[in-house]
């Protein structure tokens, strides 16, 4: 919330003055307003109209109480036209300190400064105003207004800006016949992490519903292939877009928080619980039911997509439905999901909890599956395992244990500084420093896990040099 907005000017004789403010009396007292000022203007005035060296830049200062921040952009326009050859002004905002995210207001302040500076340069908008208001003031240095067209006083202009930004987050204000100020408060998004070839993007919304022909062409191509299963490399291939452009497009989606990045799902991968799994046991916010809707095989697709849209509307839900709606189990296991033998069966909450909590360090999904099968629960008939795992990963209940391979001699070489012991050697060697997961090797070398292991065996290194470990 903007607490106050003001227009300050430096006058050659009177010094820094607040010419206009809104609400009245927020910066300097005015007659008839008993409300105290937001801060002591005399303390801060040297930061509102600072020394010349600090002009023409965005500048903020916090008042001594630490309650308000003054955001300003002091502008100095040098010109022989003015007294002392300079016109200095500042349009500033006062916002609460600590409560409000100041970042969106920076653009507003910059925009005000730039617009009014330009208007002053072009037709002396501000200095004219001054001559009109302070007719008896500085003896005719500024050019007088010849045409007395009617225009909005700055004070009311400021009030509209403040009100509109506070109420609507944007404003569009005609300043005079020729100029309009358009401003909007934009939230500040963090720079998204890089998208790698082995990430699997999962849509958080239905792109098919929001896409329109004005979207970037690459993006349009890419989003049709985001299905929660394909990795980035595969999407790039399927969409016939270069990997770099695909990554860029996905990063764009990531910036607006419309996709999630997961890992590739393999039945041979290990997943293990994280402390957050407590929430799953507690069924916080009905998350187990959400999970059941997402993972249970055989529930009618309509019901499942219905739940998907439901979860889309609730803020906590992170999973949107895939566009196709069909359930395709990856991994090619002969499962009965297609046949509706177990149609409509809903696994009990307890069983879901049981399934989720039995993932364990050092146990592959396959082993996990086998454990439950042996115990008499035919998991595949009731549950889409990939979706269960993804649900766990998305919600922070599970983490993927990645597989790494390291070569001790390569590590030793790295430690001593010879980072490339065998230049142009085996393409796999550069992955053996412990920083590259098998997922990366799989996508970048287009090999399967088993093929990599085979190739590693033929790698030209001493026996026992290579070690595979999980993290």
């Amino acid at each position: 919330m903007i607490q106050g907005i003001f227009y300050a000017r430096f006058f050659p004789q009177e010094g820094t003055k607040i010419v206009a403010q809104s609400p009245p009396g927020c910066i300097v007292p005015v007659y008839g307003v008993s409300k105290p000022c937001l801060f002591d203007f005399s303390v801060l005035q040297e930061y509102i109209i600072p020394r010349k060296a600090f002009c023409n830049r965005y500048m903020t200062v916090v008042d001594p109480e630490g309650k308000h921040a003054v955001l300003g952009f002091p502008v100095s326009i040098p010109s022989p036209r003015y007294d002392r050859n300079e016109f200095i002004f500042n349009f500033g905002l006062v916002v609460e300190c600590g409560v409000v995210d100041q970042i969106p207001y920076e653009r507003v302040v910059r925009r005000l400064a730039v617009t009014f500076a330009e208007m002053e340069k072009q037709n002396y908008y501000l200095s004219q105003d001054e001559t009109r208001n302070y007719n008896c003031g500085s003896g005719g240095g500024g050019p007088r207004s010849r045409e007395s067209y009617c225009r909005r006083p700055i004070e009311s202009l400021l009030e509209i800006i403040k009100e509109d930004l506070n109420n609507y987050g944007e404003c569009m204000i005609p300043v005079d016949d020729a100029n309009t100020i358009n401003m909007k408060l934009f939230p500040h998004h963090m720079t998204p992490p890089e998208v790698k070839g082995w990430h699997v993007p999962v849509a958080k919304m239905k792109f098919a519903d929001v896409v329109d022909p004005t979207w970037d062409l690459t993006l349009q191509r890419v989003i049709t292939h985001i299905d929660g299963v394909s990795d980035v490399r595969r999407i790039a291939f399927a969409a016939d877009v270069s990997l770099e452009l695909t990554q860029l497009a996905l990063r764009h989606l990531l910036f607006y928080d419309t996709i999630l990045l997961l890992d590739m799902f393999f039945f041979g991968a290990c997943y293990a619980p994280r402390p957050g799994i407590h929430d799953f046991l507690a069924n916080r916010g009905g998350v187990v039911d959400e999970c059941a809707n997402y993972v249970c095989v055989g529930t009618a697709p309509s019901a499942s997509s219905g739940s998907g849209s439901g979860s889309g509307s609730s803020p906590g839900a992170g999973i949107g439905e895939r566009g196709d709606g069909g359930l395709d189990m990856s991994g090619g296991l002969g499962n009965s999901s297609g046949g509706s033998g177990a149609g409509g069966h809903r696994v009990t909450n307890y069983m879901l909890i049981k399934l989720m909590t039995t993932f364990c360090v050092g146990k592959t999904v396959m082993e996990w599956l086998k454990g439950h099968m042996d115990a008499g629960f035919d998991v595949l008939r009731f549950v889409d395992v990939r979706r269960l795992v993804q649900f766990g990963v998305i919600k922070g209940y599970l983490y993927r244990m990645h597989k790494y391979v390291v070569s001790k001699q390569y590590l030793a070489a790295l430690a001593t500084g010879h980072s490339r012991p065998v230049a142009g050697g085996d393409p796999l060697q550069r992955y053996t420093d412990g920083c590259h997961t098998f997922d990366q090797i799989i996508t970048e070398q287009n090999l399967t896990d088993a093929e990599i292991m085979d190739k590693l065996k033929t790698l030209n290194v001493p026996a026992g040099d290579l070690t595979v470990f999980y993290r």
Partner: protein, 883 residues
């Protein structure tokens, strides 16, 4: 605990000292590092680009008012503007001379601003005295904590002899509050005192001084430094700005300024040093000395400048800054740091690379709940893991000896990563008190010489931390090889740990290797390479138990409803014909019999009355059940000593109610119903017709209620009588088919039904043998079953691999223990008794947050014992394993 935004050389540009003088105005005294280049915006500005179209974006806004004047206005006379090109090539070390002969001095430009302008803007008004002063000059942020001279214009304090500290060590290293506070005014050592208070204190301190001014004071006046301001110049990223300013201000800026203030007050330190530095600078300006030469000179001659250098060097790399100020009064040392968490409770998100390598644990080092001692109290069951070599720390301690050094050295020698503080305290009882152990441990942790961990143990499991920083693997591997030359290489060892988790001692080839392997484990912990894999448990209530509790609740409810209705009848009769209550009570007792029989037959625990079905219809009923306190007490009592049969229950119920003359079995209720009845009849004197109608109505209601009650009783009687099986987890009787097990999230805080479930399970544990105890053969069978049985559960699919992963050794041990006992019934009973007694004791660990591995230490039990007890309970536990 998320990692805070920390200062680094990229976002912490410089530290600068600015002073203000009453006559001569502000002066920019010193800054470090010497070359602070103007911070570049993300977009290089390009004046030619400035368009004036309406939809200029942010960057264009930025460019429109290009900062062409930045360099142009270095010196005020316009003629002295140096060539931009010349400036660009300037090495910022030599002096430049413009065509007009103006000298450009390298140290008079900091971060692209002339110091002449900076010194003005960085000397704010007195309103900022001891407050946060924060000015952003896009993109820089200047943060400081200005300190003003007291209103009377005299810095120096009158010394209070009784509070005079030892001048050599006024601010010991371990003193985490700035010395300025320790002896200024004896006010509470609280960083956030109101400024006005301090001012008042300052003034009061001055007040008792004799009016005649001493020589010192005159000198003070003459010095005329009105304020000093140590400014921190930051260049944060937009979103981290606030956090960075906050963290720097609380931990560094405030404290360091207070330390300076202390020195200034005691010996006019800041002013004297400033004078020295300014003189050197002026002279160097004349001599056109190179900046690098001058800076060396200043740093070697002024400890104030040197302290600023230390400060910048340490803080920008997030180390502990140890300052040494040589004041006239003696050496003042002080240390500041930004405390960083040494552990994380969950994996950082993908982008959180800064948090890689931190130890991953949910273990809480600080005792905070249900302990009425002061907060920030280290858990006595944690151990201290020293982050550096023991010898190194000892030498470090001895290099700066004082009265506590000996004790601390002793502490370091006794501290082992395998011993809890409590144990350390016990072992070194003759040298160190428990309080000392904790204090030292806290001290070591605060100053980053150690971290608190759950004591390492060979039986615990350790896995490769998913948060370990693999980028450090090459160096770590080399270090590991140097430190443990005979052990397997680091990658191999990590691989071994990362396969299937098992107790650490199984990695150790022989007992003789144990100590080395424990050192290796400590090493791995230190580097955040491994973390303990802990077991967390919740109580699972199997359908059998749920059914049993529901069933007996219903039985109780129906029995009570019956009593109520009979009582009502009796009261009615009493009011109508004042007949004796005895007979109706007899009837009541009679009709209760079947229910009692059911109760006694199945041997159920008595249940709380107020737990009952809230559908008991009439208001009076509800009132009664609410006002049931005597029976409540009775039930809670009987929960602890559950009677074997309902007859016991009756007895126990009779005795407390004996003073009540009514020989009803429901003594406590009678007075109540008596008070309730007049209410029904009092309010008016209705006509006979009305009375008759009312009576008929009441009768109808009573009839209906009675019918409903009967229906319920029959429905209840038709239900399957609960049967206790040896293993409720695998009981798949038909009547339990639709029910799913219930999970109790926090057994200690369980209320209502959940507490009933818990006590029902407690009964099972106690009677797991006794129920079958009817026939010795069955007993023996179950005993044999138990011999395998208690871990028979372990193999059960329902328990899955979670608890099934108790290590083999444990299992064998249990097997042995049990095997010896299997033919001895008495021992069995004792064991069950122990399990049952431990059950409520262990509730507080069954909340999914307390690691079962730590129970033994917390309860001061033997590990084996604790594990055996847990194994015995395992059928009722759902286990999860993480860190």
């Amino acid at each position: 605990m998320a990692l805070p935004v920390l200062p680094s050389t990229s976002n912490f540009l410089a530290v600068a000292l600015v002073i203000n003088r009453s006559r001569d105005g502000p002066r920019f005294v010193f800054h470090y590092p010497p070359n602070v280049l103007p911070a570049h915006d993300s977009t290089g500005h390009n004046p030619s680009r400035g368009g004036d179209d309406a939809d200029v974006d942010d960057d264009d806004d930025n460019n429109l008012l290009g900062r062409s004047s930045r360099h142009a206005s270095l010196e005020t006379p316009a003629s002295s503007v140096p060539h931009a090109a010349e400036l660009l090539q300037w090495n910022h070390d030599d002096h430049l001379v413009t065509e007009s002969g103006t000298q450009i001095v390298p140290w008079e430009h900091v971060a692209g601003f002339p110091t002449k302008d900076l010194e003005n803007i960085l000397t704010p008004a007195r309103a900022y005295h001891k407050k946060l002063f924060q000015v952003s000059l896009d993109p820089l942020v200047c943060v400081s904590y200005p300190v003003y001279v007291p209103e009377n214009g005299v810095w120096r304090k009158k010394r209070k002899p009784q509070k005079q500290p030892d001048p050599t060590t006024p601010g010991r290293r371990d003193d985490d509050e700035p010395p300025a506070q320790t002896d200024t005014d004896g006010a509470p050592r609280n960083g956030d005192r109101k400024v006005s208070d301090v001012d008042q204190v300052d003034v009061r301190d001055m007040a008792p001084r004799p009016p005649a001014k001493t020589v010192e004071e005159a000198e003070d006046k003459k010095s005329s430094m009105t304020m000093f301001n140590l400014v921190f110049i930051l260049n944060p990223k937009k979103h981290e700005s606030k956090d960075l300013v906050d963290i720097m201000f609380t931990h560094i800026i405030k404290k360091i300024n207070k330390a300076y203030k202390y020195c200034q007050q005691r010996s006019d330190f800041v002013w004297k040093e400033s004078k020295k530095i300014l003189a050197l600078k002026d002279k160097a300006r004349e001599d056109r000395k190179k900046m690098s030469v001058l800076w060396e000179e200043i740093l070697s001659s002024s400890t104030l400048a040197a302290s600023m250098q230390d400060l910048y060097a340490a803080v920008s790399r997030n180390r502990i800054a140890a300052l040494q100020l040589h004041t006239v009064g003696g050496l003042v040392t002080h240390s500041v740091q930004i405390p960083v968490p040494f552990h994380l409770s969950d994996l950082p998100p993908d982008g959180g690379e800064g948090q890689r390598g931190l130890w991953l644990t949910t273990a809480n080092t600080i005792v905070n709940d249900d302990v009425d001692e002061e907060p920030d109290y280290l858990d006595k069951n944690f151990a201290l893991l020293l982050l550096a070599d023991e010898k190194k720390i000892v030498t470090e301690l001895q290099s700066d000896p004082d009265e506590t050094t000996l004790a601390m050295v002793e502490f370091v020698r006794h501290c082992k990563a395998t011993l809890s503080f409590h144990q350390v305290g016990q072992q070194s009882a003759n040298v160190l008190t428990q309080a000392q152990v904790r204090k030292f441990a806290q001290h070591f942790i605060f100053w980053r010489r150690g971290i608190a961990i759950p004591p390492l143990h060979g039986r615990d499991m350790y896995i490769v931390s998913p948060n370990c920083d693999l980028r450090k693997l090459p160096e770590a591997g080399a270090k590991w090889a140097r430190q443990f030359p005979l052990s397997p290489p680091l990658p191999n060892f990590l691989a071994e740990l990362s396969m299937a988790p098992r107790p650490y001692k199984l990695h150790c080839p022989s007992k003789a290797h144990r100590p080395v392997y424990m050192t290796m484990l400590a090493w791995l912990m230190r580097g955040g390479w491994v973390t303990q894999l802990c077991t967390f448990a919740y109580v699972v209530v199997w359908p059998e138990i749920v059914y049993e509790v529901e069933y007996s609740l219903e039985a109780e409810d129906i029995a009570r409803a019956k009593r109520e209705s009979q009582e009502r009848n009796r009261d009615k009769r009493a009011s109508e014909s004042s007949s004796s209550t005895l007979s109706s009570a007899d009837v009541a007792a009679l009709s209760d019999a079947p229910v009692d029989a059911i109760l006694s037959g199945s041997g159920f625990l008595p249940l709380l009355d107020d737990m009952s079905d809230p559908s008991s219809s009439t208001a009076t009923l509800r009132d009664l059940s609410l006002l049931h306190s005597p029976s409540l007490a009775r039930v809670s009592q009987s929960q602890q000593f559950p009677p074997r049969a309902a007859s016991d229950l009756d007895d126990s119920e009779f005795s407390p109610t004996s003073p009540n003359t009514i020989p009803s079995r429901h003594g406590p209720e009678s007075p109540l119903s008596r008070t309730a009845t007049p209410l029904l009849h009092d309010p008016s004197q209705p006509t006979p017709a009305e009375q008759a109608a009312e009576k008929a109505r009441l009768e109808r209601i009573a009839d209906k209620a009675a019918r409903e009650l009967m229906d319920r009783a029959t429905a209840h009687a038709r239900k399957v009588i609960p049967e206790q099986t040896a293993h409720p987890s695998v009981n798949n009787a038909r009547h339990l088919a639709g029910m799913s097990p219930h999970i109790i999230l926090d057994a200690k805080k369980a209320t209502g039904k959940e507490s009933l479930y818990l006590s029902a399970i407690g009964h099972r544990l106690r009677e797991s043998a006794a129920t079958g105890g009817g026939s010795p053969a069955a007993r023996r069978n179950s005993a044999v079953g138990n011999a395998r049985g208690h871990h028979h559960h372990l193999h059960q699919p329902h328990h899955g691999p979670s608890i099934g992963r108790f290590d083999q050794a444990d299992r064998d041990r249990i097997g042995r223990d049990k095997g010896g006992a299997s033919d001895n019934m008495r021992e069995w009973r004792e064991w069950d008794e122990r399990v049952a007694n431990a059950w409520p004791m262990f509730w507080r660990y069954f909340n999914g947050r307390s690691a079962l591995e730590r129970i033994a230490l917390q309860e001061d039990m033997k590990r084996k014992d604790a594990w055996n007890l847990l194994t015995a309970m395992s059928e009722y536990l759902l286990c999860i394993r993480h860190w």
